[in-house]
């Protein structure tokens, strides 16, 4: 009989319950005291994070095998919760400054977060689909959160239409997977394949269509085109949250699906992934070079970063390498999340009302006036480029190792060459900060400073002692296969 143990999904439950409670509580908080909301939300997340951390090493499943708790899920849950906390840290001041304080914001973030976490814990395609929607729908709303600002609304509508469009593909893909294996459970798929009852052709087509859907979520070329527009239009903290959390969630789903359910398709899909990864790296980096708006630049950069992570998928069918490659993707995602949030925190610090302060040129003089902030930004840029002494280098090292190990040196060459391209535009920010004269006036706010400070220090320190992180990532994938 089905068991309904909620322990495996306890952090999610806490988060959802907390979000609902928060919606109620908001009504009872006096008008002048609403500043408590983000704090309360953060506490909820922290509690969830605590439980999530406590769940390390567990290997459980519940709800009839629809939700699992394994190292992989735990890794992602922690990552998501960190993203959520950082998102709140960067939001508070921004919302007040741009006068879009609507208190539903924090519950929505939490609910989206719960969708992400479910995504990483999903062991059944139906849960995958629902989690996808649960994480996406709040994001559609959040993107348009700065309404009636036109760009924000536009971003919301674009994101929504294209998101729904792509979830249509996911759904159709799931339908085909179901058709091929007569089950929606991931372990069922594996069993069906092993038992020879699966229709491999249909399975391949289904997997390809889900790949399209999630490729959209992680902004893989050619499904990436919404990214810059939405990133630019959405309120910057939402962009930050999206670019870290939603992307990671997309990868969580892809990794779980491909690594645990679809290895049999590697013959068919490896070339596809190869091309996707190469295109993503190349086009993301190439277009980023020409951007002058930092949000767009970072959007393209995030596309490019997805390309690097996608590289780790390419050897997914090779059991000897897949572990390493998935672990490297996890590791890199972690590094990316840290650097990414740091960057966005600084972008938020410099952003002014009416989309002012978002040109790269607005960063001129930062190095002289605000050395710590500029130094942190430099660390993030170096990390994204893959230069020492940052986690980005270690992450790339790991990724490229996986790719070479998997026997795709050509892809690795494309990877390194495109990182060279990326150096150009990341450096431009550094150049502007340090080598041009200007008078930037960033907001000096504690939580923002905390965010970029914390992420910058972590990025450097973890790069020097990455062993535990390596270990964590490696442990996380052990039970995936």
């Amino acid at each position: 009989m089905t068991d309904y143990d909620i322990y495996p999904i306890l952090p999610v439950v806490i988060l959802v319950a907390w979000a609902m409670a928060l919606l109620m509580v908001e009504l009872f908080i006096l008008k002048g005291r609403k500043g408590w909301m983000p704090l309360l939300a953060a506490v909820g997340m922290a509690v969830a994070l605590g439980f999530s951390l406590a769940q390390a090493g567990e290997n459980l499943s519940s709800f009839g095998g629809m939700a699992v708790l394994d190292g992989f899920a735990q890794f992602f849950n922690v990552l998501f919760l960190i993203s959520g906390l950082l998102a709140i840290a960067v939001s508070y001041d921004y919302m007040r400054r741009l006068e879009i304080e609507r208190w539903e914001y924090y519950p929505l973030i939490m609910l989206s977060l719960s969708g992400m976490m479910l995504m990483s814990q999903a062991a059944d395609l139906i849960v995958v689909f629902l989690a996808l929607e649960l994480l996406s729908i709040p994001l559609y709303v959040l993107s348009a959160f700065a309404y009636p600002k036109a760009s924000s609304e536009e971003s919301g509508v674009k994101y929504f239409l294209l998101g729904a469009f792509s979830s249509g593909f996911v759904l159709y893909g799931i339908a085909l997977v179901y058709g091929a294996t007569a089950t929606t459970s991931l372990s069922g798929v594996v069993d069906a394949v092993a038992g020879g009852t699966a229709n491999l052709t249909l399975l391949a087509v289904g997997a390809a269509l889900t790949l399209v859907g999630f490729g959209f979520k992680v902004a893989a070329v050619p499904f990436h085109m919404w990214t810059p527009d939405v990133y630019q239009g959405a309120p910057t903290p939402v962009t930050a949250f999206m670019s870290a959390g939603a992307k990671a969630a997309g990868f969580a789903a892809l990794l779980r699906l491909f690594a645990s359910a679809f290895p049999v398709l590697s013959q068919d899909l490896t070339p596809v992934l190869w091309v996707l990864a190469a295109l993503t790296m190349f086009i993301g980096n190439a277009i980023a070079i020409a951007q002058t708006n930092i949000k767009r630049m970072l959007a393209y950069s995030s596309i490019a970063q997805s390309g690097y992570i996608l590289m780790a998928f390419v050897p997914f069918g090779n059991p000897e390498v897949a572990q390493v490659s998935v672990a490297s993707a996890l590791f890199y995602l972690f590094a990316y999340t840290l650097a990414n949030f740091g960057v966005w925190a600084i972008v938020i610090g410099l952003e002014k009302a009416e989309d002012k302060g978002l040109e790269i040129a607005d960063y001129a003089g930062l190095g002289r006036k605000y050395p710590a902030m500029a130094a942190a930004m430099t660390v993030f840029m170096l990390s994204l480029t893959g230069m020492p002494p940052t986690l980005g280098l270690v992450g790339k090292f790991y990724l490229f190792r996986a790719v070479i190990d998997g026997g795709f040196p050509g892809l690795a060459v494309i990877g390194v060459l495109t990182s060279l391209m990326s150096a150009y535009y990341y450096l431009r920010v550094v150049v502007t900060m340090y080598m041009k004269e200007g008078d930037p006036q960033p907001v000096r706010e504690g939580w923002l400073a905390f965010t970029w400070g914390f992420t910058a220090v972590s990025t450097v320190v973890l790069s020097l002692a990455p062993a535990s992180l390596f270990d964590w990532a490696a442990q996380a994938v052990l039970r995936l296969f």
């Binding site: 689909f129 919301g156 729904a164 058709g179 007569a182």
Partner: protein, 100 residues
């Protein structure tokens, strides 16, 4: 009985038409309807497969998809309403201030 593959072919055609609608129409509402058509086509496939396997899972899936569709519609329509209020248009091609 009709071979289930007929239903599947039909579902494929409907899905493609939904896609085509998204690509061709400029009215955001119609675009959205086309997406619903795509979901519907997927549902048809689910039910057809469920019949194939004589399994309920596929049907249940459809049930959830409908719920999701409802949720999407609620949010989507309110987004469209919101943007209509500020721009007075539902033409998606006019939503192109963000580009490059």
């Amino acid at each position: 009985m009709i071979p289930v593959s007929y239903y599947l072919v039909l579902s494929g055609i409907l899905f493609s038409m939904g896609v085509l609608g998204v690509l061709l129409r400029r009215n955001a509402l119609v675009v959205f309807m086309s997406i619903e058509l795509m979901l519907n086509a997927a549902n048809l496939a689910f039910v057809a497969f469920a019949r194939t396997f004589n399994q309920l899972d596929g049907q249940i899936f459809v049930f959830f998809v409908m719920t999701v569709a409802a949720a999407e519609v609620a949010v989507g329509l309110s987004l469209i309403v919101a943007i209509f209020r500020s721009r007075n248009t539902v033409n998606v091609d006019e939503l192109s201030s963000l580009k490059g």
